[in-house]
């Protein structure tokens, strides 16, 4: 979609512009983002944090932009966080829960997306249980699609808010050579799959750890890669001297029977406890994308430990999503292709 540009500059002088242009109309995953583009998202997020600290945390940057939030799966933080982010930028927001829409009458995804566009949406934030569904939506939608999580595949805004949180917590703001452990149900985790892209792009020493049944395929991933990709089925070895531990939720709703003997056994062998964390660096950063099963993948006292950044992740989520909406809207208005 292209927008006619007026010949007159709207402000006195053109602003100084970023050395890196944002060329993406959609955000479907983080795999296509260069390191410079990741830095641009981080820098824009800093600016949004400053907006959030103002007495009125709202700016008119995206006035007149219609954002539709279409979620086919349950969510609290991602949905609300996108909604708050859009409203802080003065977007108009429409929320659709698929269960209460014509989807329950059998409307296809493509028809639903066409209907949303016909109703005036410029940006579509979508979550779907099927991996790849947002890619299909992006093929038919004339505006921008933001993936709010699709199946086991990707959760780009979560990976970017995790990256932002880590950069603000680690000394020097650098992940270069830092030992980062993703612990738990990696197999079913779109959060892990997106984080793997951003963390390796930033030079982290990345370890994935969990029961062998929940790491299927990642042994090949680790052996294919060069440095900075490790694979470990015992938690104590993985946690040794870790700078960052990201515990993942055990996704009971996606768990085919037979992958785990029992949740109690999982908690005993892989649960993130204060005892187990003694092997990690004393300043270890503790993360969890939420929602937590306390007492399963993370102990309640660890979740509220002084080294836990779990609530920072939620707060930063709003700023990161403001940055993403802002960058994508700019690209869309300038007529970027993909």
């Amino acid at each position: 979609m292209t927008v006619a540009t007026a010949p007159v500059p709207a402000v006195d002088a053109p602003p100084e512009t970023q050395p890196v242009a944002w060329r993406h109309r959609h955000l479907l995953d983080v795999d296509g983002l260069t390191r410079a583009e990741l830095d641009l998202v981080m820098g824009t997020t800093d600016a949004m944090r400053e907006v959030l600290a103002r007495p009125i945390p709202k700016v008119p940057a995206l006035r007149g932009t219609n954002v539709t939030i279409l979620f086919y799966e349950a969510s609290t933080r991602t949905r609300v966080s996108f909604e708050v982010a859009a409203k802080n930028l003065s977007c108009d927001v429409v929320n659709i829960a698929a269960s209460a829409s014509s989807v329950s009458k059998g409307e296809s995804l493509v028809d639903t997306v066409r209907t949303i566009e016909a109703l005036g949406a410029h940006m579509l934030v979508m979550r779907h249980g099927v991996s790849g569904a947002p890619y299909l939506a992006a093929e038919v939608f004339g505006g921008s699609v933001l993936n709010g999580g699709d199946g086991w595949h990707a959760h780009p805004s979560q990976a970017l808010l995790d990256l932002y949180t880590l950069r603000s917590r680690l000394p020097g703001g650098s992940l270069e050579g830092r030992k980062v452990v993703i612990l738990g149900d990696v197999l079913h985790s779109r959060v892990a799959r997106s984080n793997i892209w951003t963390l390796t792009a930033m030079g982290a020493d990345l370890w994935v750890c969990g029961p062998a049944t929940l790491l299927r395929g990642f042994d090949a991933w680790a052996s294919r890669g060069a440095a900075g990709r490790r694979f470990m089925a015992t938690s104590d070895a993985a946690l040794s001297d870790a700078d960052v531990v990201m515990a993942l939720r055990i996704q009971k709703e996606r768990m085919a029977s037979g992958l785990l003997p029992s949740l109690r056994e999982y908690a005993a062998r892989y649960g993130l406890t204060a005892e187990r964390l003694r092997a990690a660096s004393p300043d270890v950063v503790i993360m969890h994308p939420g929602p937590m099963n306390e007492g399963v993948e993370i102990a309640p006292d660890v979740a509220v430990d002084a080294r836990s950044v779990i609530t920072d992740q939620v707060t930063n989520g709003v700023a990161v999503r403001m940055a993403l909406l802002y960058l994508l809207a700019g690209a869309r208005q300038r007529g970027a292709g993909a």
């Binding site: 512009t17 970023q18 600016a47 907006v51 802002y326």
Partner: protein
């Protein structure tokens, strides 16, 4: 190509000093006065005016910085993503007299955006405007209260302000735009 120099370092210094006197005179003192520079070159100018007021009046005026990126009305017109340089207003604006400081006053749209932004920070008793150069061609009903130099220009010219803090020297130059902007582009 370098342009025609219309203000040298000495001229810039005299203009800022005069503006600082005018601001205090108009306010009949320094009570309730705050300065807010518009990113980017308005910020060092605001600091210079504050230093001059401190020297002549012995009063330390708070100085803030305002980035208007999120208040611009031209997100679709700029070719690339603007750099957001940050807003720092670590003081209360309610009931204060805010003097906005910028380098060049042209269409007036930057000032419109700056006033919108300011009002989200509080309710100033008054907002005034000080600029180093007024080059005319207003598109909005906005005028400056304090002007360093009025410079008649054509729309095909570019007024380039350099300051030591950002560009290693103090100077104001007029350049002719090399390329015409007929094809709907944004200048320059």
């Amino acid at each position: 190509m370098t342009g025609r120099r219309i203000m040298a370092a000495e001229d810039v210094r005299r203009a800022t000093t005069r503006i600082s006197h005018e601001i205090v005179e108009k306010q009949a003192g320094t009570d309730g006065l705050v300065l807010i520079g518009i990113q980017r070159r308005g910020v060092p100018l605001a600091h210079r005016i504050a230093a001059s007021i401190l020297e002549h009046e012995g009063a330390d005026i708070p100085v803030g910085a305002l980035d208007i990126t999120f208040y611009r009305d031209d997100l679709s017109l700029v070719a690339q993503q603007p750099i957001v340089k940050g807003t720092q207003i670590p003081f209360d604006l309610n009931g204060r007299t805010v003097v906005l400081v910028d380098d060049v006053l042209y269409t007036g749209r930057t000032i419109r955006a700056a006033m919108d932004a300011l009002i989200d920070f509080g309710r100033p008793q008054a907002i005034r405007l000080a600029v180093l150069v007024d080059r005319g061609h207003r598109e909005l009903p906005i005028r400056a209260d304090h002007v360093g130099k009025n410079v008649p220009t054509s729309r095909e010219e570019l007024v380039k302000v350099s300051l030591e803090e950002t560009d290693d020297e103090d100077a104001v130059e007029i350049e002719r735009l090399a390329v015409a902007t007929a094809a709907g582009g944004v200048r320059p």
